[in-house]
């Protein structure tokens, strides 16, 4: 766990998260003084008025919060069918990502997942039983 004071203003909050992601390191942000875990879209100051957060390494465990399966191709980079999902990390925050499955019918809200970084560096999730590399 690291405890890095940080000013959570717009832009730098994102940049820090993305820096960790680029290093293949999934982190969660927690208010330094209150201990409250932030959602990834959070921008408001902590209830005590401070704006200092620390970034902790996430366990990589998650559950499938919601999902949609695209059947209409909106961009040539994304061949249908593919899924876009919300995963609830074990620590609480929800992320937009995708679950790597051979058959989209395997997806179920509540299924257990594990975070994996693809060779490209993209963060994806696998069904917990088939995770190959924990984040």
């Amino acid at each position: 766990m690291t405890a890095e004071p940080f000013i959570a203003d717009i832009g730098t909050f994102e940049a820090t998260f993305l820096d960790f992601i680029a290093a293949r390191d999934l982190r969660i942000a927690r208010w330094d003084h209150t201990g409250e875990i932030l959602g990834y879209a959070s921008r408001a100051p902590a209830p005590d008025g401070t704006r200092s957060v620390r970034w902790e390494r996430a366990s990589g465990s998650a559950t499938l919060h919601g999902f949609t399966i695209y059947h209409r191709e909106y961009h040539p980079d994304f061949k249908v069918p593919y899924n876009v999902v919300e995963v609830a990390l074990a620590e609480g925050p929800i992320l937009i990502t995708t679950v790597i499955v051979s058959d989209q019918r395997q997806l179920r809200v509540g299924m257990e997942l594990s975070a994996v970084f693809e060779p490209s560096g993209r963060l994806v999730f696998h069904p917990a039983t088939s995770a190959k590399e924990s984040a």
Partner: protein
């Protein structure tokens, strides 16, 4: 029915431009046409209008609906002129802002207009709406997963709600079918053919659980209303529809916060509008809900207190919102079958019902009408309580 504290304003004019799936004009020219039509419908002259509120689509090109459109219309010496941006809630916001402006003396008669041209030749209407949905607030995050369009982000919310409450895809279909029942009675609806559950099931998925038929049917065109003081309403051409209550809900909690089920704000808007009108859901006789997708109307039934969480699917399946049902809803066919004018569709239908001019689809008791708008990814909500009856 409890007495409303007082009527806040009156909606006295309703007008449309040409509406089509083909090119029929620019956003700007269509807006001007609709405003002129609404002013004429009210029996007013251009010189009577001293306020103009403009709502371009969130997806329209920058400056597609500029402030200078008032010059195109022929409006002079305006006391109020502004763009209103609140996503899918913006039409309701315009009526609320017009009402507030009138009541504080800033303006007397305010025209409010929405205009959009999403259907472009050679390009599917869905493609127009297929921009990346920025749910996380992290620049570029959703793009790497292909989360395009409101249809994707709303499908995520729908799927979650359906799983929590044990809904099936057919539960969305029953709502779409109910809309078709109403649309069959509306000569201006765009999808009037009856729909069976089998035909619904045969509709291709766009972003499961949403099928094509779960999505709004976009139109090129504009619609406008004229709002005036409640006491002046009776002087206009048609029976006024009075604003009795207004509310908004913007929870301010990030969509992806570490909370189990963040509130959408629909309940906040509803409770505030009900409180201002001095009513509760049991007093409501008619609903016109913003249904960019089938799911949003079902969710609104729960947020606005007509059903317990999760019970709206059964409520609709049992026919309570269809013609002859105890709570007629989206009586023109809604956005799915009546045509998508981003909030003007439900408001216009409420006005027709309140006036008693809805023809074959006229609801028997349009006494207390709830209209809502919602936008973003369900995080911005606004509501009106309307009635054909004026309270002092």
């Amino acid at each position: 029915m409890p007495a409303s504290p007082r009527s806040l304003s009156a909606i006295v004019g309703l007008g449309f431009s040409a509406l089509s799936r083909k090119p029929v004009g620019t956003v700007r020219s269509l807006a001007a046409d609709a405003v002129r039509a609404a002013i004429d419908d009210a029996g007013l002259a251009l010189s009577d209008i001293d306020g103009l509120l403009l709502n371009p689509s969130a997806l329209a090109a920058d400056n597609a609906l500029p402030l200078k459109v008032h010059e195109d219309i022929g409006l002079r010496d305006l006391a109020l002129l502004a763009l209103v941006d609140a996503k899918g809630a913006a039409v309701v916001h315009m009526v609320q802002q017009a009402t507030a402006a009138i009541r504080c003396g800033l303006a007397t008669n305010v025209a409010c207009v929405f205009s959009d041209t999403p259907v472009v030749p050679g390009k599917g209407a869905g493609q127009t709406f297929a921009i990346t949905s920025p749910l996380t607030g992290i620049a570029g995050w959703e793009r790497q997963y292909g989360l395009f369009g409101a249809t994707g982000s709303y499908a995520l919310a729908a799927n979650r709600h359906m799983a929590l409450h044990g809904w099936t895809e057919d539960d969305l279909g029953h709502y779409v079918i109910a809309c078709r029942h109403w649309a069959a009675l509306n000569p201006n609806a765009v999808q009037r053919a009856p729909l069976t559950l089998d035909a619904y099931r045969a509709s291709p998925f766009v972003t499961a659980p949403f099928r094509v038929l779960d999505c709004a049917y976009p139109l090129n065109g504009a619609a406008a209303v004229v709002v005036t003081a409640a006491e002046r309403g009776k002087d206009c051409r048609y029976k006024p529809v009075y604003v009795h209550g207004m509310g908004q809900g913007h929870p301010g909690r990030p969509l992806l916060a570490a909370t189990p089920e963040p509130a959408t704000g629909g309940d906040l808007a509803a409770q505030r509008a009900y409180a201002m009108a001095g009513i509760g859901p049991r007093d409501v006789t008619l609903c016109q809900f913003y249904d960019a997708f089938s799911f949003t109307a079902l969710l609104a039934l729960e947020e606005y207190g007509f059903c317990e969480p999760g019970d709206s699917a059964a409520f609709v399946r049992e026919g309570h919102t269809r013609p002859g049902g105890r709570l007629p809803m989206n009586t023109g066919g809604g956005h799915l079958a009546g045509g998508y004018l981003q909030g003007m569709t439900p408001l216009a239908e409420a006005i027709e019902q309140g006036r008693g001019t809805a023809g074959d689809r006229q609801a028997p008791r349009p006494d207390m009408i709830v209209v809502n708008g919602s936008g973003g990814q369900l995080e911005h909500h606004a509501a009106l309580v309307l009635s054909p009856e004026q309270t002092p």
